[in-house]
Structures are given as C-alpha cells and as structure tokens.
Symmetry: D2
Subunit: 302 residues, 4 copies
C-alpha cells in the first residue's frame, strides 16, 4: 500500500512525543487536541493542525486516538464533528488510550457500523519511552489489520504484542499487567514495613528477596532505585496506578470476576490518594506504610 | 579452632539431607529425631545416634536444630533431657527452623542464661537444594559467632546472608521473603484469572508481563513452568506457604504492624486449604481462581 | 399553593406503585416510561400518558424521576425532548432514583441553570412498602423546597428524613445505609459459617447473637426469617445490593475515602454474582459461605 | 445434691466480681490468684484463700477458672500443683475464660482422663454486668452437668444459653458473637466516615440507619451513646476485641474456614493498636477512620 496519511488525536504527555515520532519518521500527520499550545508544538514540527476530530478523519487513512478515559474517546469519535464522520470507508482507527476493554469493544462495533476497521493498542512504559519510541504496545483485533499498521506502530514502540484477535484484548492485557505490577508493589511495601519494624535494614531485604522466589521488577527498580532513596519524582504517578486499578475493577465487574486482593490493593492506593500522595511516583506508597507503622521507623536514609 | 563436633536435631525432609551433607563433609555428627528410621539412615551413613537431645548436646560443640515449629524447638532445647542441659558453656546452638522471630529471641535469652551462644539461620529454597547443599541461609545474631560457624553453614548452603546482629533477624527476613513470594503468587493468579475470563491466552500474559514492570519470579517459574502445565507436584506445598503466612501474621501481631493485604492473602491460601489443595504445589492456587471464575474457563491445556 | 400537577418518569417495580398512590390520592399525574404496558396500566388507573419526558414537564409543577441509574436520569432530563425543556421556571424536580451523590449534584446545577428547583429523595425498603405507601424517604436539598413537597412525599412514604441542605445528601445517606446493611450481612454470614463448621446449630446463634452487642436487623430478618429457612425469594436481590456497593465505591472514589472493608464486601457479592446467585434474595449470600466451608455443612434444614 | 463447695481461680476485672457474687450468695468459696491483693479482697469478703490451684481443687466440688488465655488455663489445671491434681473424682471444672474452642476440647479430654467432669461457659457483656450478676453465659458440654451447675451459673448470670453438647460449643458461640459485633463496628464506622466526608451529620445517619435494615446494636450504643460523644472510657477495650479477633482467626485456621472479611476486620483493629488506641473503648476505632479521611473532618462535636 502507499504510505498512509496519519491522524492523531490527543497530544498529552504520552500522545505528543508519539505523534512527534511519526512526524520525524516522515509521515504526513494531521493532529487535533483541545489545547492550542499542544497543537502548535506539533504544527511547528511539521504536522498539519485540524480544528475538529472530523477534520482529522477527512485527512487520514489511519487515525490514532491517545486520550485519558473512554469518555474522551467517545467524545472524539462520535457526533457531528467526530472522527468517524470524517474517515472514509475502509480507513483504520487505532485507539491507543488505556481504557476498559468493554469500551474498546463498543468502539469497534461503532466503527464497523461506519464501515471502518478498528483495533485497540494501549501502551506500556513511561513518557521517556514514548519520546525514545521504545514503547511496549499491546494490540488486540484482526491480525491482518494489525499487521498492515505494524510499520506505524514500530515507529512508536520497541515491541508490539498481538494479544488476541478480538478488539479489547490489548486493553485486557494492559489492565492485567498493571493490576499485577500495582499489586506487587503493595505486597512488597507492606512486607518490607514488617521487616523494618523488626529492625532489618531495607538493603538486606532488597538483596535477599532479589535472590529468591520473591524476586520482582518493582523491588529492584521502583523501590530500590527510587523510593528507598527518597526519590518520588513521578515516572508513573500514584494517580495513574490508582486509575488503572479502577479500570481493573470495572473490567472485573463487567466480566463477573471476584477479585478480593486487587480490590483491596485499590483501596491501599485510595489511602495514598486520601493522604495527598497522588502526584508522587508509585513507590511513594511507602509513605502509607510508614504512617501505619509509626513515624519513628524510617525506610532508607534521612 | 579445631574442627567442631556437630549435633543435629530434626531429620525431616529438609534436616536429613542437611545432616547428611555434614557427614559427607567429614564432620563428626551426632543426630537425634523422634523417628527411629530417620536416625538409622544417618547412622548408616556415618553419624552417631543419640537417644535424647541432651545427649546430642553432650557430644557437640555446635548443635543445629531443624524442626517444624517453635513448640518443637522449645521441647528440644528445654527440660531435663533437653539440648541446653547437654551443651558445655560457650557451645553454639544454631536454630535453622522457620519460626517466628519472637521465639528465636526467646531461645537466645535462654541460651545466654545457660552460658551458650546462639543464632538463628532459617533456610530458603527446597528439599532438592538441601540435598545439593545449595540452600539460601539467612542468619541473624552476633556476626563473630556467625562467621565462626560459616564453614559449617557453607556445607549446607550456597549463600549465607547475615541479616542483622540481633537473633531473630534471619527469621524476620525469611518471613518477609515468604510473605512477598506468597503474596505475589496470589496477585498474579487473580489478575491472570481476569485475563483468561476476557479471552486472553495465558501464554500471552506470561510473555507480556515478563517483559514489563510486572515481571516476577513466580510468574516465570511456579506458574509458567509448572501450574500452567498442570504440574502440581509439590516443590513448595500450599500447606507450607499457608504456615508461613501464619508466621507472618504472628510476627505482625507481635510488632503491632497492620498488614491488610498479607492478611487477605493468608485467607486465600486458607480457601485453598479448605478446598482440599493443601498438598499441591503452591501454583495449585490457580484451582481456587478457576473455581471462582467458572468451571468452563481453563488455564493451560487439558 | 394550589394543588400541584405531578409528573412521573420511570414506572418500574418501584416507580409504578409510587405513581399509582399519587393517582389514588387525587393528584393529576402525567406519566412517561419507555415500556408502553407500564404506561397503560397507569393510564387505566387515571393518569395521563405522555410520549416524551418533555411533555411530562409541560404538564407538571412537580416532576418526579424514578430510574435505575444516573445515565437514565441524564437521558430523561437533558436534550431536546428532556424534562428540563418542558418544565416552567420555578417548577420542582425530585429525583427519587438511587444514584451516586455526585450525579445528584450535577443534576441540581443543571436544574438551576434552567431556572428550576431540584432535590434528591431516594427511598429505602421494598416494593411491598412502595405499594403500601410506607417507604422511607431520604431527602437532600433546600429545606423550604422539601417542605413544600412534603404532602406529595407523604403519599408515598411513611417517614421523610431531611438529610442535609445540599442536593445529594439523600443519596449519600442512602448509600451509607446500604453499605452498612450489605456489610453486616456478609459479616454475620461469614461468622455463622464458622459456627456451623464448629458444630453449633444456626438457631442457637440467632438466639444468642440477638441478645448481645451483636444484635442486628439482618440477622433477625434476612437470615432468620428467610435464608435460614431456605427462602431465597427476592425482597432485595443480590444484584441490587451489588449495584449499591458499586455506588458506594464510586462515591468513595469521588470523595477520596479509602474503604477497605466495604471494598472487600463488594467482592463477596461479586463472588455471589459469579456463582450465579444474582437473582436470589440477598440472604442467598449464605450459599457462597456454604461453598467455601464444604458441601456437607448445611445451614438450616433441608 | 448438697450445696457444693466452690473453687474460683482468676480474680481479675471479671473474675473478682463473679467470685464475690458467689460469696454473697452464701456459697463456701475457695479462691486463688497470682495477685495477693486480689485474693485479700475476696478473703475479706468471706472467701477462703488458697496458695495453689491444687489446694483450690482439694476444697471444691465445682471449680471455676476465669483467666485471660488458654495458656493460663493450662498452667492452672495441669502439673504438680494444678487444679486437676486437687479435685476429687467426679468433681466439676467450669472454664469461663474466653479461649479458643480447640483448647476447651483439650481441657475436656484431660479432665476426663482425670475422672473429672468439665464444660466451658464463657460470658458476654461487661464488668458492670459481672458486678450486677447479669452476665450472658454461653455453656457447652453435657446438658446434665450444665443443668446440675445451673444454680451456680444463675448467681453470676442473667441468662444461660446451652450452646451444644460438646465442650467448646460455648467458646465457639462466644467467638462467633464477638466476630459479629467487632465486624459490625468496623463496617458502620467505615461507612459513616464516607457519610461525614460527604457532609452528612452523624446524628442524621444514626437516626436513619437505626430505622432500616441497617439497624444494629453497635450503632445505637457503642457509637451513638459513647464514641460520637467523644467518650472513649473503655466498657470493652480495643485490645479486647483485637484479642477476640485473634481467637476467631485461630478457630478458623483450626477448622479450615476461610474468613476474608473477618481477617481484614482484625487488621483494622491491628491498625488501631498500632496507632496507640489499645486502651480506648472499641468505639475509639472511629479515630482510625478520622485519620484516614483527614484531620479536618470530625465526627461529633469538639
């Protein structure tokens, strides 16, 4: 196929560098965002600015949405000035937002009713990875369509997983992934709090746990490299893992899956939010543990 | 110092191969266990059989206990026929049992009253590692005493961590370690249940999660290598992680540390016990998830 | 004031008998529902049938909505054919649906923008109480407006609580109320499962607990009068308490309140839903307990 | 039968007034406690002081123990100077301590081996009820033996429930009872925290909840009459409900009953203990909720 024209809606912390990489890779990219400065930065870099989502659609063969919640995606694709009004029959919509799988499925049906092809492809990792074009991408949908768009995805990501042939499979894996990483963090922090209260130094626990069946990425990175050094600069903020726990709860309710432990983990992040730690890196959850075990017991150095 | 005479009390699944390795390494080892066949196997290999714990003490410079619970250790070291009556002043007692740290501290005090030196050194890993002499050993107590005994520990273990200079620090790290590994297993199994119900194949989740911040040993080993292949042969049985969760709960109560998530994890293993899975490998916890999400949804192949 | 003309939107299991009582009390009532048979039954009893929510508004001084979720209320009041287009300035909208307080507040703002007066007034108790006109009504909003409408509310309810002068206060109390009753049911059922497993007959527990600090309405009614007699005919179905737990979770998230125990209670009802008990009376939660403690242990007689 | 001579071991906050009532009722009572002042007070009132538990046994037909934990009961009844050495064949031992049912069963077996008759009869209610002789008594064991001792029990209690013919049934009901009352308190406090954060006054919630399916003794008494009035004077201290939750956990583990909600409730009281509230009345649990939802939100008046 000839080089497709690309549309990009949602130029936030993740979307902006992703769109930028597409521009740099030589694609013709038409962008839209509610924030004029965000649009201007992309236009300055060579993108074309649209004034509605529909206009993005009118100028794209493949349109990408990268938005905070399913309500935003819905607002962007539906209605008189929505993306689906603008896209020609057979065009592709890739939703790369992290939303609940049931919403992805709903958009897929709507796309089909409009003669469009659609798949979901949420991303893992951080804004740094978005800038470097090394995101982890989890795609769900018709493998032929995903393959057709793979060159575009490869510009933004380092690795693209095809998680299943139903739209929503990418979102499902993303949610499962974050329930696991968020849950592990809480489990490790709570247990280390016990160790600290028992008088064991955190470094010893990092060393021993890392060498046994307790080994995990969160301990070696989020905690050992950041939180235990009192570095709470957000790579992935507590407000974001809290949001993802909410997506997990929604997905569990949709599928009738009881998740007692994940449900409680969500409440722990809720406690972190209530204590004012929303903006800290997720390792800042240690502060909740410190408050529970007493002010005099401290993780890491002063 | 001259080569110490070694005593060994507790010749169970772990203790027997540990004692055997000491015999093979050329140490004079005096053993005791309530099971005559267990004693006989060691005697046949070159150990000396004692008929009481006290007799073990009378023939040892360093005496090791490797018993199921603190009540067994208490029975072995105290009383008219106990180990502490037999050991000479200045002798060393190493308790390698996995027990609550508060009990370790109690034995340390008792040892001191009897003019003895004592430290705790519970072990990680499985019976296979015990046989191969590659256990992970977590020692807590006076560093000089631990160092003095290091040649002995090195016969049984691959790596010896000195977890703190207070007796009980080894036990504390062991408990924290197992709360983490046991908690991660429950978190991962629960989240994978959600993914399976959403129609995602377990292999995809193993692959994606293993490449992100969700990566952990339990997923890569207990689940991917065993449980997801329907292999429930116990390397580490559900009854054992259940017991360790109980030690964690006891330790948390002793130290006044609220542990909501670990407490709930313990209840999940309680549910596995109630469902009759005590003897399965801990990855058999997946069966609890399968029961919750419906018989028709299966992990792995038939 | 002269006798107000009343509008009623939502003629379901609760709404129909409530509207019927207003007709019987002699009010001029204009009704609307998406189900024609539901509308016909009220018309046959003397109400006027409208074909849009707007038409209800055009013929009412006080309009009541009684709908399943906030999305339905939103659909009914907004838009070209919505209630707020029809109501004259100064008219009153009473939302008696059980929805999240944040949605009630949103509707209050919208009403104000349209020159209307609005308060929320969700109801407690069952369909039988709706038919008998003895509902418990929890109102939130300007006390003067609530007082003005009290004669109307008194037709439907036995007691009207004014829960606070902010719109949403009625909904807040309703949600708190149901989190408490739903939570107590789970606590009691779980503890009685322990007693049953210990060999104690349920009747003994009902008698003793009812005479101590453990006494509660759920034990004396939902359990002793129904579930322990194997009567699962829904007075209040598991699907409804499950929905209310969801409202509680939403409200907690909106207000940043960690609720670990309520969160876990919700998961228990989720487990009941997953096991296929959605349609049973909430006392049917006992079946989840029975499954956990073993098929051979039965509550009550066969 | 002739009037039995009574023995009483354990003269603490509950035991002392119970023994006193037996003295006042005209029984010949021989008492023992490790605290001389406690013994002296009873002796001054007309009891006979013994210097060992065995001596109590030698002077009793019916001996009562009222001690904090099963370890204390074990110490009192076994050994060279224990109660069971002193009691004559056929004598009765009533253990009124609140302990785990499995321990009660163990003592029953031991009693039988010694030719004694034994049942358990823990009590409900407070020290005030002990002084007034209006305790709730939960007896478990041979109904004939319980009936034989009923005149004695009636001196101490207002109502005596026969909970089952196996020893331990009284303890089982007591534990279930307290898991329920302790669980309800946590559920209500957590939900009221949500209401308070939403701006609803606690008095409104007390009024509404008390009139619906949410009605319960804890709300009407522990909270409305004490904690919401900032009265934390212990009628039943947090340390005691915490202890009872521990008995529940032990009993659940013994019987293999998963209890996720009770397990989490225990952790909530653990958090109250960790925050230094052990000595407050159990309604002081509200302070844990206040800390979670923010200092600026207060229950009740200053």
């Amino acid at each position: 196929m000839t080089t497709p024209r690309i549309g990009f809606i949602g130029l936030g912390a993740m979307g902006a560098p992703m769109a930028m990489n597409l521009v740099k890779a030589g694609y013709a990219v038409t962008v839209f965002d509610l924030s004029p400065p965000a649009v201007n930065r992309l236009r300055d870099a060579g993108a074309t600015a649209a004034t509605t989502a529909r206009e993005v659609g009118e100028n794209s063969d493949v349109a990408i949405t990268m938005l905070p919640r399913s309500a935003h995606v819905e607002a962007a694709v539906t209605g008189e000035y929505g993306l689906y009004r603008g896209l020609a029959k057979g065009a592709v919509h890739i939703d790369m937002s992290t939303i609940e799988p049931s919403a992805s499925k709903r958009f897929a049906e709507l796309a089909q009713e409009n003669g469009l092809r659609m798949f979901d492809a949420p991303v893992g990792k951080s804004t740094a990875a978005a800038a470097a074009g090394v995101l982890t991408i989890m795609a769900g949908g018709d493998p032929a369509v995903v393959d057709e768009c793979r060159p575009i995805l490869d510009v933004m990501g380092e690795i693209v997983y095809h998680c299943g042939s139903e739209v929503g499979a990418g979102a499902a894996v993303k949610v499962v992934n974050n329930l696991v990483s968020g849950g592990i963090l809480v489990v490790v922090a709570e247990a280390m709090g016990l160790g600290v209260k028992a008088g064991v130094r955190p470094e010893i626990m990092v060393e021993v746990l890392g060498a046994t069946g307790a080994a995990n990425w969160q301990l070696a990175n989020t905690l050992a490299q950041k939180a235990l050094k009192r570095d709470y600069e957000p790579g992935f903020a507590i407000s974001l893992i809290h949001k993802d726990c909410g997506l997990g709860a929604q997905m569990a309710e949709d599928l009738k899956v009881p998740m007692p432990v994940s449900g409680l983990v969500k409440q722990q992040y809720e406690a972190a939010m209530a204590a004012g730690h929303a903006g800290l890196d997720w390792g800042g959850y240690l502060k909740v543990i410190e408050a529970a075990i007493g002010e005099d017991v401290a993780f890491g150095a002063a």
